[in-house]
Symmetry: C2
């Protein structure tokens, strides 16, 4: 059945050559993710679009696995997003079962009309047959070019073989298989205790361009061996996504395909049932989940197309947290701010401009701006202690911190972006990604 | 008084070398603007920031000149913007008198605190003394770097000399003197009839980056010899700016300094008084004014930083005109759309993405997208008659037309932008403009 496809169990770094140099902001090494009880992973080079790159990920999940998800807010969402949303709506007593995850890279199956939906159905049917479950227990995601018909037969015909080949602990191969313009695979892990019982959280992500809340353009799949029902998972996920994936932007463009799924297999150490997200016994788990989500989100920004610098923007003193976030994202999305940082230019005037255009309340004379802790502007003008050398140094490193105090209230937010460089133009202006 | 300053009467092309090559989208030649009764122009290289470039424009206006203006919506507007707004508020019986316009390039006098306001006052006082009028009849504009203290003494000390040197017909020199990162001077002219009497409209503009509604980041000064009171001028201007300067974007960034002033000297052919903008006798004048505003606005887009292509986006079938405009601007501001066009890539999937993220109502299956008249997507998928060669050709020229029909209502809008190229990064990432 899978004669034309080559399954992969080992790290696929060599097989998955990135078209662009690895981001200088990439983590030093791929993290060590332990196997996770109830999750088996398999990948394959199915030739959906790329050649000699793994492009299909299959995750087999133990019976009883619960799932939660958040998706793009786009009005032109992809067929797999519509499918997943629909399945999550069908929760019974707060539980939604998931048995298989199928992800392909190279084609987003977005704006592909009825054929796109038929493709999703065909893949779900084949995956269900392979795993011995209902199609409604199959979750799907696709990433890649928009508007091209998905060659779903290339995927369906390899599923049985890749399932047979799947194993625990294939995290690196899984992270590789979902990459598109990513220059490195992304993963994060953490452990936590629920009622004294150790549980593990493993996550992978892909994303590099078309990244903006809500959500950042990306796929991310997070797995835990804890036993938590869907409704509780959903609450934890919705809260965790705010300061992580919904606080990053690369280029202000919102994808049709953003998908973040959280699976809980319940096959780790046994712990008592948890039925409320507010349960104090979940505190440690939620903290660990938040850390994994933030880690993955920042890896996406660090791989922003053409990124040479990671920029953190802290906004304080706004009228509300929402206002602070809007101001922060306005700064983070400003091409003029991003190009200035790219050029090591402490051009704080462009921060003033961005605050001014955000639409939120601002008062020129209360505004305070600092680069790397060095106050560059306050009281309606350049700061008395302004030092060009210090300011320039603060924007010249790989990580840049911009702090803006609006001086009007107590609203605060932190967002991240990257600089805008020639690399972005190269990647997006030279071929169809 | 102006010993260090060199006044300029002749076209200053040689003296005002642009730092970047002239945009390939520039008009073939600077238009021939006739002298305008009641307007004398003078320019000078005052050394505000640039060297060996004219950077101050003085316009002397006949007694009785009326003025109207529209300005940036930024919450951190520059000192000259605050000054002009304040003076326009002081209209008596719908009339506001203007006798002098002083413009400098190289420094925006924005976020310069109390010193910035003092600088504006000092320049207005000196200009008033030179022209023999009240400071309230002096209008000012500044463009250039934000946050640097304005060396207003460099301007005040040259005003008498440049006034003495001013003359009718210095339009090219005037357009040169207000340039910053512009690669060519911008001007437009038209004639119209009011009650059978011929009147002339001459306008100049500058702008290239930090261009987004409302308003595009730019300065523009339009003059007519018609006799029209301020209140009527204001109504004509406010209406004319919607489909012109408020329908263009280069980089989505809103300036702190955007200023569009319209002056009417009343020194042309005599015509009866017009007291309402809706007066049918103004129809021809308003049409000509709209044409001048659109011509100038498009010249700004054509000089968008790094621009290699002019992109026109027509949105139809939206729920309202406002919705259509928002969708159009979302497409126009999308870095992924702009880089695709730069790369001659008919990547209509990115148009789908932009429509989806605009926040306005959209229905995937009713959406229709065409490049240069060639329908590329409809009915929720790639169009049946899609032809890659035709589509690619449509996005490969200097002028690209994108049409998007939302299929939901009768709202329509037309907006313009330019592509996003390496030139934009070069200009904004390599020095403080």
């Amino acid at each position: 059945m899978a004669k034309t496809a080559k399954t992969t169990r080992e790290p696929a770094a060599a097989a998955k050559k990135a078209a662009h140099p690895v981001s200088p902001l990439a983590p030093k090494a791929f993290p060590k993710l332990p196997p996770l009880a109830g999750v088996r992973l398999g990948t394959v080079a199915a030739g959906v679009r790329y050649r000699q790159r793994t492009d299909v990920l299959l995750a087999l999940l133990a019976p009883g696995t619960q799932v939660a998800g958040v998706f793009t807010t786009s009005k032109t969402a992809s067929a797999p997003v519509l499918w997943c949303r629909d399945k999550l709506k069908g929760a019974k007593n707060g539980e939604t079962s998931a048995r298989v995850l199928v992800v392909n890279s190279g084609n987003a199956n977005a704006f592909t009309g009825q054929a796109g939906l038929e493709g999703v159905k065909a893949i779900a049917a084949e995956a269900a047959a392979v795993a011995g479950c209902r199609p409604a227990e199959v979750f799907l995601a696709s990433t890649g070019v928009i508007g091209e018909p998905l060659p779903d037969h290339k995927i369906t015909k390899v599923l049985a073989a890749v399932a047979a080949d799947s194993a625990a602990g294939n995290w690196r191969a899984a992270a590789d298989a979902i990459m598109t313009t990513d220059t490195y695979p992304k993963a994060a892990t953490a452990t936590a205790r629920i009622d004294g019982v150790k549980v593990t959280i493993n996550g992978i992500a892909k994303g590099s361009g078309m990244i903006a809340p809500d959500m950042a353009t990306m796929l991310s799949f997070v797995f835990t061996d804890a036993a938590i029902p869907s409704a509780v998972l959903q609450e934890c996920l919705a809260a965790g996504v705010g300061p992580s994936f919904n606080a990053i932007t690369v280029d202000s463009d919102t994808s049709t395909s953003d998908t973040l799924l959280l699976f809980a297999t319940g096959k780790g150490g046994r712990h008592d049932a948890v039925t409320k997200a507010s349960d104090a016994r979940l505190r440690d788990f939620r903290k660990a989940l938040d850390a994994v989500l933030l880690d993955l989100a920042l890896q996406v920004v660090r791989d922003g197309e053409g990124a040479q610098k990671l920029i953190r923007i802290d906004v304080t003193g706004a009228e509300s947290d929402a206002a602070a976030k809007r101001i922060g994202l306005t700064i983070a999305n400003s091409p003029l701010v991003k190009t200035a940082v790219a050029g090591n230019d402490a051009n704080w005037g462009r921060i003033v401009m961005a605050v001014g255009k955000s639409g939120e309340a601002a008062d020129r004379d209360r505004l305070k701006i600092a680069f790397g802790g060095h106050v560059v502007a306050e009281k309606g003008m350049r700061a008395a202690g302004y030092n060009e050398k210090t300011a320039t140094k603060a924007v010249s490193g790989r990580e840049v911190q911009i702090a803006v105090d609006i001086g009007l209230g107590k609203g605060a937010a932190r967002v991240w972006t990257c600089d805008l460089t020639h690399g972005y133009i190269d990647i997006n202006g030279s071929y169809r990604s």
